[in-house]
């Protein structure tokens, strides 16, 4: 992925706060990054870190509190449109280009519609076809693209297994020929064998149609498998963003280091220095000034409590939000 070409999507200082009884919940707090055309950006983090909220704000299923999400204008022009500001009718047009696949293939499909109607729904809503025959052709075509046998077109979701249901979800998101798809934990509810099938499908679709993906997941091996670059989130902020190989080989942010060291590896005798973090993720409600990871960090110093570390580019394409990132690089990453 060349960093020189203009990005396809630019997220700038995006914030999403929720009012709660106990105060303001900072779900996404000043997040900026960009995604290139045809790239897969992995978004990892633990529950509550704001990764799904971020995904939803980007395609405006949630209204952001502030910030911009700039998407490249339709083919040919150099301009950008700010997704967070467009009118409802413009948004409806934009929705054809930006789509989402949800985590739970059990709850995101209307149980009373058969497969063919589920897949036809986006085509009907957007009045893509005038005649039934061409719509039916398109539905069949979509079914074959995602690997659903034609005989299933009259089946209902409850008759199908999780993998097939997720294929319906994918077919629905592809129906309008999108350019950009947010995949929100698309394989988390699936068994490993089915997971492998869906990951292969997403990969081949991207090759075939040149989709741009944001792949949200808490499963680090899955994210590594699919992503070109990976952003790690902690408590509403991106703490590290870089090429997937560099991130896994040489993580710099202490949280990334701990997160990667915690992955159980399916090989016997591979001993790693596991960093066991103390405590839990703190509350995202009215977070104090300073580094969000402070309480659990094993490098923490006095400065971390005073200043919030910004996400800085410490090497080309390598972003870290830690005051001591440069020192950590000099020490060759992991020192704990």
């Amino acid at each position: 992925m060349s960093e020189k070409s203009a990005p396809y999507i630019r997220v700038e200082n995006l914030k999403k706060y929720f009012h709660t009884k106990s105060g303001m919940l900072h779900a996404v707090d000043d997040v900026s990054f960009s995604v290139q055309k045809g790239e897969t950006l992995g978004l990892v983090g633990e529950s509550g870190c704001g990764k799904s909220t971020l995904g939803r704000c980007i395609i405006r299923l949630l209204e952001s509190t502030s910030g911009r999400v700039l998407i490249t204008d339709e083919k040919g022009t150099d301009g950008y449109t700010d997704i967070t500001k467009v009118s409802a009718s413009q948004m409806k047009e934009l929705r054809k280009r930006v789509q989402i696949v949800f985590q739970d293939p059990y709850s995101c499909l209307n149980p009373r519609l058969p497969v063919r109607e589920l897949i036809a729904e986006p085509l009907i809503v957007n009045r893509v076809f005038r005649d039934k025959a061409s719509m039916q052709r398109r539905v069949r075509e979509l079914m074959s693209i995602v690997g659903l046998a034609e005989r299933l077109e009259n089946s209902f979701p409850h008759e199908l297994d999780g993998g097939r249901r997720q294929r319906i979800g994918i077919a629905r998101s592809l129906a309008l020929d999108p350019e950009f798809i947010v995949l929100d934990e698309p394989v988390s509810a699936l068994d490993v064998c089915i997971q492998a099938q869906i990951l292969n499908l997403l990969n081949s679709l991207q090759k075939q149609f040149g989709y741009t993906y944001i792949f949200i997941s808490h499963n680090l091996s899955v994210v590594k498998h699919v992503s070109d670059r990976i952003a790690v989130m902690y408590l509403g902020k991106i703490v590290e963003l870089s090429d997937y190989k560099i991130l896994f080989k040489d993580p710099l942010h202490p949280y990334t280091q701990a997160l990667l060291s915690a992955i159980p590896i399916p090989k016997v005798g591979v001993r790693r220095d596991r960093i066991i973090l103390e405590g839990d993720v703190p509350s995202p409600i009215e977070p104090p000034e300073g580094c969000r990871f402070l309480g659990r960090c094993f490098y923490r110093q006095e400065r971390c409590g005073r200043e919030t570390p910004e996400l800085r580019e410490i090497e080309p394409g390598r972003f870290v939000a830690c005051h001591f990132a440069r020192e950590l690089v000099a020490q060759g990453g992991r020192t704990a």
Binding site: G163, D191, V222, L259, A262, P264, I265, P266, V270, R274
Partner: protein, 330 residues
């Protein structure tokens, strides 16, 4: 599988459990044989519907009846068949000798009872102690799992997921059981919290000398915590062995496929290899070897004969005569 009978804590023989429903009979566990030595940790791995949880419910006699029916077999725990025990005897075994940890800590705790009382409840049930002694022992137990004294009087909702699972572990280990069955104990937890909880469970297991059956679908967790591993498919064990032997040298075609479908952290690959087809319908299992319709090694005989376990290395068994023959072991 042979082991000195005295070293065996659990010996399951030909266990068959069905769920009888209006739509047909679900063959959840079919002729399962499984052994667990004293002090051992066994990982039971398989996909949804492989029969892992049903096996655990069978051992603890917590199977919902109906629709669950134990069709046959024996579950010898410490030499005695738990299937022959009456409910009264089971109540003293459950929690006392065999404890269980479930996947979701949010639903295994009583929301309107403080956590120390929940641990004490278990202690009082199995030991002749006064309320205050039970509470004191509960406090010690909770301290052991990392819950500080000032939080003893808190309710479950005041704890995070990882801390709740610690409370559940404290309850399970409170009466020093001989066997701990942990059913996906960390599936609902985040990876850094999972690391904490697994570390805790490993330490406590060593400290108490408890035997453990760890049910999981995560091959990584098994590699790090278990001595032995059993791979289940469609209600049967298809491969069993020392964790090292099995991971270095998986041999049953299903195990091989399972290992290959997990994305590798160290190596890059463009496409994951996939086992063709889907898990069979448990109401209508294929004849012979349940895996044969998806197996690239399948022969004509596979659809007729139910494979038995064949030892291919000392202590390493596969239920696949074709592969065993290829290894010169049949």
């Amino acid at each position: 599988m042979t082991m000195n009978a005295n070293d065996l804590l659990l010996d399951i023989r030909e266990l068959t459990i069905h769920y009888v429903t209006d739509n047909g009979t679900v063959h959840a566990v079919e002729g399962l044989n499984l052994e667990l030595g004293r002090g051992e940790t066994l990982g039971l791995v398989g996909e949804t519907g492989a029969g892992k949880t049903t096996t655990a419910l069978g051992i603890t006699r917590l199977l919902p009846v109906p629709p669950g029916v134990v069709r046959g077999g024996q579950i010898l725990f410490d030499g005695e068949d738990v299937l022959l025990k009456d409910e009264e005897e089971m109540r003293s075994i459950r929690g006392g000798k065999i404890a269980m940890i479930f996947q979701d800590p949010m639903t295994s705790l009583n929301p309107v009872m403080t956590v120390d009382k929940q641990v004490a409840e278990m202690i009082k049930l199995h030991r002749k102690v006064s309320e205050s002694e039970a509470l004191e022992q509960a406090a010690e137990m909770l301290d052991l799992v990392g819950i500080r004294r000032e939080r003893l009087r808190d309710y479950p909702h005041q704890f995070s997921g990882g801390m709740k699972q610690r409370v559940v572990i404290a309850i399970a280990l409170a009466c020093d059981p001989k066997l701990l069955i942990a059913d996906e104990p960390t599936t609902a937890l985040d990876v850094t919290i999972q690391a904490q909880v697994l570390e805790l469970m490993k330490n406590l297991k060593r400290q108490f000398g408890t035997s453990m059956i760890l049910i999981t679908h995560d091959l990584g967790i098994v590699a790090e915590t278990c001595d032995k591993v059993g791979i289940m498919y469609a209600g049967r064990l298809v491969e069993y062995g020392d964790t090292k032997s099995l991971y270095d040298n998986p041999n049953h075609p299903y195990t091989v496929g399972l290992f290959k479908s997990v994305p590798d952290l160290e190596e890059d690959c463009d496409e994951l290899s996939v086992i063709p087809g889907l898990m069979p319908d448990p109401m209508d299992l294929p004849s012979g070897c349940a895996f044969h319709p998806r197996c690239s090694h399948a022969e004509e005989a596979c659809s007729r004969e139910r494979p038995v376990m064949i030892e291919i290395e000392p202590g390493h068994f596969i239920a696949c005569p074709v592969r065993a023959r290829a290894l010169g072991k049949a």
